[in-house]
Amino acid sequence: MRSNVSEYEFIAPGSLDAVLALLSAEPGAWTPMAGGTELMVALGAGRLEQRKLVSLWGIGELRGITASADWLTIGAGATYTDIRENAAIAKEFPLLARSASWTGAIANQNRGTLGGNIVNASPAADSPPVLLVYEAEIELVSAQGTRRMNYSEFHLGYKRTVLRPQELVMAVHLPRGHRLPVEYLRKVGMRNAMAISKVALAGVGAMQSGKVQTVRIAAASLRETPARLSVTEGVLLGHALTSDRIQAARKALLQEVKPIDDLRSTANYRAHVAANLLEEFLNQMAASES
């Protein structure tokens, strides 16, 4: 049953300050909407509960992608297309460009934004695992000012985040100059385009003298939030990637993930495939020094 659009207020104040003033004046009353690729689907399906929406689309302060000496800063309003077409991201953070390229299809990528992907807080979202392995920071803004934290602290639980009702995500900051020699990203879904992940795994790492010197692993659709797999990382750090060690890492992964059965897949399938993806990543790590 479709929604009755006459029941929805929707305004476009046009500037970041004006949106923040509105959110601050009536905290929680207004729901921000950028490209609409999530909320308009809910509207079409008759399940958009929020009745007052405020447009973020076209607000220039949110959309830029800029580089300083230490950080690449992606405005929350940057679209997947903006991310795919940015030369610095392609060169320094290629996993992010790749995850953007397989989010929806072109028309969705032209409207969907990085901020929306993060705030929607789906455990299956494509960009968060990549942001986690790149150790991104996230900047939140309200009329009272900005605050910045590790992105790994942003998600609190299923669809719950630290974002306050009067805040917006302003930008994501990626640390430059720390690129590791092995980068891995694989998404398993029904088809290449338009599919939401059954499971996805991102990994970056480096070997030194036959041992794991650095490793960061994050997953989608394996826990209630996008998550770093720090127990698994701990099993690997400082060790040679023998077959016993890889088996131990698989076991650690299976213990720290909490996959569920849903319409896209089963917990059992997700767990098994996630362990296989981990092994594929570790085989790339092992081969990287030879």
Partner: protein
Amino acid sequence: MSAAKIQLSEIRFKVNGVERSATVPPMKRLLDVLREDFELTGVKEGCGEGECGSCSVLLDGVLVNSCLVPALQASGCEVLTVEGLATNGELAHIQRTFLELGGTQCGICTPGMMLAAESLLRKNPHPDLDAIREGLAGNLCRCTGYMRIIDAVKNAIQEPILAADLAPEETVHK
């Protein structure tokens, strides 16, 4: 639940080169404004959730699913629908190749397919097969099996190829 009636917004667009305006609820889908207010029924609704591409239009030259764009966000924009592809009664290049190569059967996906192809070719005038497949990946067709659509886009890269120039098995079934 009957909410108080919300304020209507006057939305001005340029649609297929012509200035138009509509006074509509600001959350009305661009798809519905185009079909109901402007009677541009070449814009189709398939899934209504951004998965099938039947409602594709170009918004300021950018391919979008018009079912996911609220009218207010299209305010001040230029919209191109399939009705705007032809000029002075002459089919656009991409329309001719779809016609000549049988890229159309039931026709529901066709306007969206053509706009996705138009968008692709504007950005990348010489796409390879992978780029064509990616450019059309958000548009579903349940009739053709896609091969004839892909052929139509491939052939739109060069000057139009007329049916008479094609091998017999590639001609359109009239």
